[in-house]
């Protein structure tokens, strides 16, 4: 209970502090992140354009060499009469040199326009040598699209086939080297006469491998054909999946590229997860025209890179954030504890003041923060005011209660105990006497001739007389004795601790003498006479009512005997 409020406050303050620092850090991070992402996309896009140019150059260069070969005299004049053997040898020598100096050329073939487009000269790169295809192995190629498409071309034109997968058997390791390749081919004309075509198989893998080496680490290169099927992919088994019927396509793998195939354009993107702090990547894809001989075709070149700089920044920021958090949390807790004390201590004091008020203890308001100017000060002040008001009201109530009690037990005129109060005092005194084994006397006093005085001199005189009697009775009795007004002009006395009847008689006789002296009642000098009946405890009775009754009877006897006298109950003859 003591600490609850301050703990709550501490928690709230600390949480606010943490939230503020997290939000601030995230905003800072978010802003820098966006800048980095933008920058990364731009960089990838620029790199991509450079790569695209280099690829286009590599393709164009192969085409230029095909055109160069197609202009070769030995091939143009191959079917002319003369030494065909010599032409064959010089074509072979040229092919061999061309393959030797172009590591990315996998084969060069001279194809006849006749004989179902049978190969005339063909060289193929093998593992680490070149192989001239023997005559007997030369093939008829009329059914190959690149052949019949090239044969339709005009001099100086070249056809490029769609990129497909080339394969070379590596004998030493009994495995296959596969690579993206395309074939560039050009028709050979001798004047207007179509002689054949020359075709070069180009290994694009060589080009791409050299491109890849120039890429920053963590950046992956992608190449896809017009349908989005991968030709180059970081996972080799996704390359040329379409040859086996698999659909490994960039528009299926990159959400941002879903519309690329329908509408070829440059697209750059970042992995689009606002809160993903780890695996952030950026990508840039662009179409490369791969049109050939009137056929429209396109390739898609793409770079996808993990954002290293962003990653570094993220971990840096997170470290900083953690330190900040620890610091802010510590400060937050400290401040919260101080604030908690500042707020909760006066409240605790108020609470304890309230408790003591409840318990009826006197209270000290000095500790309360009465002088504070804030709400707690106002609360303390109004609490103090309230406590004082309660005190005053309690006091008033007590006074009222006491006066009510007095009224209910006393005669308003004389201020003497009334009949019922007298009875309770008598009972109390009897019990006391019983315990002390002492005696007490009850005296019943009735004023003689009170009515005539009342009638003669008026009610005021009567009242004055009764007051005078009361004063006289009071004055002549001891502390331990009791005098009460029984009714009208009747009074009762209790005399405690009396030794014998004589002592009582002497007190009463003395009393009657005092009354018989002249008293000033209004403006008259009057003696007062009274008849007194006396009963004794335990001699006459042990009951309060009986004692009163007996005293009354004895008083009546005293009246009969001639007034202004006293009579003991025990002395009066029973009737």
């Amino acid at each position: 209970m003591r600490f609850k409020l301050s703990i709550k406050l501490t928690l709230v303050f600390a949480m606010i502090a943490i939230a503020v620092s997290v939000i601030t850090a995230y905003q800072a991070f978010s802003a820098s992140r966006d800048l980095i992402l933008e920058d990364a996309q731009q960089q990838l896009q620029d790199t991509n354009r450079v790569l695209a140019t280099r690829i286009e150059n590599a393709i164009t260069r192969s085409e230029d060499l095909a055109l160069f070969l197609a202009a070769n005299r030995h091939m143009r004049e191959y079917h002319n009469p003369g030494d065909r053997k010599e032409r064959y040898d010089s074509i072979s020598e040229m092919f061999e040199q061309m393959l030797t100096f172009n590591a990315n050329f996998m084969s060069i073939t001279f194809i006849d326009s006749r004989n179902y487009n049978r190969e005339l000269v063909s060289f193929v790169r093998q593992e680490d040598s070149l192989r001239r295809i023997p005559l007997i192995e030369l093939k008829e190629l009329s059914h190959f699209p690149y052949v019949f498409k090239t044969l339709r071309l005009k001099p100086g034109e070249a056809y490029r086939s769609p990129i497909t997968m080339g394969k070379i058997r590596i004998v030493s390791s009994d495995s296959w080297y596969s690579f993206p390749s395309f074939r560039t081919s050009s028709p050979i004309y001798n004047g207007d006469e179509l002689v054949g075509i020359v075709a070069i198989d180009v290994d694009l893998g060589v080009t791409f491998n050299s491109l890849k080496q120039d890429l920053p680490s963590g950046t992956e290169l992608y190449l896809a054909n017009a349908t989005g099927d991968y030709l180059i992919h970081p996972e080799p088994n996704k390359q040329f999946g379409f040859l086996l019927g698999d659909r490994y396509q960039l528009q299926r793998d990159f959400e941002a590229l879903s519309g690329l195939i329908q509408q070829p354009r440059e697209i750059s993107f970042t992995s689009n997860h606002r809160f993903d702090l780890i695996d952030l990547t950026a990508g840039a894809f662009m179409p490369i025209d791969y049109n050939s001989a009137g056929e429209r075709n396109v390739l898609y070149l793409g770079l996808v890179g993990e954002l290293r700089s962003l990653r570094t920044m993220t971990s840096h920021l997170i470290n900083e954030l953690l330190v900040n958090l620890a610091f802010v949390t510590f400060i937050g807790i400290a401040v919260a504890m101080l604030l908690g004390r500042f707020v909760s201590r006066p409240l605790i004091l108020l609470l304890s003041a309230m408790r003591s008020l409840k318990a009826g203890h006197t209270h000290d308001f000095k500790q309360l923060s009465i002088n504070r100017t804030d709400e707690i000060g106002a609360l303390s002040r109004s609490f103090k005011k309230m406590a004082q008001q309660i005190d005053n009201q309690m006091l008033e109530l007590e006074t009222q209660r006491q006066s009510f009690e007095h009224l209910s037990r006393h005669d308003p005129l004389t201020g003497l105990p009334n009949r019922s109060y007298f009875l309770s005092i008598l009972n109390h005194d009897i019990a006391n006497s019983k315990r002390l084994r002492s005696q007490l006397a009850v005296a019943f006093i009735d004023l003689d001739d009170f009515k005539p005085i009342n009638d003669l001199y008026g009610h005021d005189s009567g009242d004055d007389l009764l007051k005078t009697v009361a004063d006289e009775l009071r004055a002549s009795l001891r502390e331990v004795d009791t005098v009460a007004r029984f009714a009208g002009d009747e009074f009762l006395l209790i005399l405690n601790g009396i030794s014998d009847q004589e002592a009582v008689a002497s007190v009463i006789a003395h009393l009657l003498e005092r009354l018989a002296q002249k008293h000033t009642i209004v403006e008259h000098q009057l003696p007062i006479y009274a008849s007194v009946g006396i009963s004794l405890y335990p001699g006459d009775s042990e009951s309060a009512n009986d004692l009163i009754k007996q005293a009354d009877q004895a008083m009546y006897k005293a009246k009969q005997a001639g007034r202004n006298r006293y009579q003991f109950f025990s002395d009066s003859p029973n009737e």
């Binding site: 179902y116 190969e119 008829e140 190959f144 086996l244 019927g245 659909r247």
Partner: protein, 346 residues
């Protein structure tokens, strides 16, 4: 602090990436072009919470290579014709099928209501495949070039049409077709001498064709762009459907030698780890929606509303298992590469 960083980032990224994690397992399907639509895949994926990976094959040789690839993918189901199915059963590449798990089998009408009565589907009274679609492989011809339909397959070899003929890439059918054209009585079951004759015939065909196609899309491309006047329709009614769609001046006929016809089925790969799901796939393919979509969009027959007369036609030669598909494939590779004579070492 380093550990904390890692934990925090791991937590953060965990929170973010969790909902994106694909819970579904992969279900691999290999089928012919047009057999499985994208909408059917989406529906199946949604219904069974799997990720369907579809491979579209274009020749029987390709499929056999894929299924037998030592490091290949574990396919769950694939579509193949009843003749091809036999070597898959022989080599234990397919699982038995329980029609109890295929309630939609009740949709299939005669003759497909009695699966055990259909040749090639079962062995030792165990069912291995459920029919899905069928077609004969007829002859496509240009109506401008031919006032009446060519009556013989030999028209493909006619030098008048050299460079304007389109043939198909598959080895098995080509040998059967070559056998049919030179009058071999049982073109599905050729002796070595007959295979050599057929090889010669196919080299002649190669010299007469513009090229060989593999997919329906490729054939359509050549039909439109290469002035083709005659084509062997490996995909049958599916290709006919394409011709109509593109309003080409082409028609379709069945020559007097008759047409080869395939009955394609769904089979469950021996390597499938999810036998139940595979049955659910087949069941899904036999649903009215999917089967009718196949006919509506691809022009392929379905087994729910089959043409009963079709199966009584004498001119239809249902594909039979061939004597040696491997040998046919090897010979075809040589021919395809352009040899002028096959080297034959059986």
């Amino acid at each position: 602090m380093k550990t904390n960083t890692l934990t925090l980032t791991a937590m953060v990224s965990g929170l973010v990436t969790l909902p994106q994690v694909c819970l579904a397992t992969d279900f691999r399907v290999m089928a012919w072009p047009g057999y499985v639509s994208d909408s059917a895949i989406l529906e199946f994926e949604k219904r069974y919470q799997v990720n369907v990976e579809l491979s579209v094959i274009q020749t029987d040789d390709q499929m056999w290579t894929q299924i037998n690839a030592p490091k290949g993918k574990a396919y769950d189901v694939f579509s193949l014709n009843t003749a091809e199915l036999q070597r898959y059963i022989d080599n234990n590449k397919v699982q038995t099928i329980d029609t109890v798990l295929i309630p939609n089998h009740k949709n299939q009408q005669a003759p497909f209501d009695e699966l055990h009565s259909i040749q090639g589907l079962s062995r030792n009274s165990q069912l291995y495949a459920v029919p899905y679609t069928y077609s004969e492989m007829g002859l496509i011809y240009n109506t401008d070039e031919f006032s009446k339909p060519p009556d013989s397959w030999n028209i493909l070899w006619d030098p008048n049409y050299r460079g304007r003929v389109l043939a198909y890439e598959g080895s098995v059918h080509n040998f059967t077709l070559a056998g049919l054209s030179i009058g071999i009585r049982d073109p599905f079951n050729q002796s070595n001498e007959q295979l050599i004759s057929s090889s010669k015939r196919l080299i002649e065909l190669r010299r007469n064709v513009r090229t060989f196609y593999s997919s329906p899309a490729q054939s359509l491309d050549y039909l439109i762009n290469e002035k083709i006047v005659l084509a062997f329709a490996n995909y049958g009614s599916q290709q006919l459907n394409d011709l109509h769609k593109h309003q080409l001046e082409m028609a379709y006929t069945i020559p007097k030698e008759g047409a080869l016809a395939w009955l394609d089925t769904w089979a469950i790969s021996q390597s499938s780890p999810s036998r139940l799901l595979a049955h659910q796939w087949i069941n899904f393919m036999l649903s009215t929606e999917v089967s009718e979509q196949l006919t509506r969009e691809q022009g392929l027959a379905n087994t729910i509303n089959p043409n009963k007369q079709y199966f009584k036609n004498d001119n239809i030669h249902w594909l039979q298992p061939v004597e040696n598909p491997q040998l046919r494939s090897e010979l075809w590779q040589q021919i395809q590469q352009g040899v002028s004579e096959v080297s034959f070492n059986p």
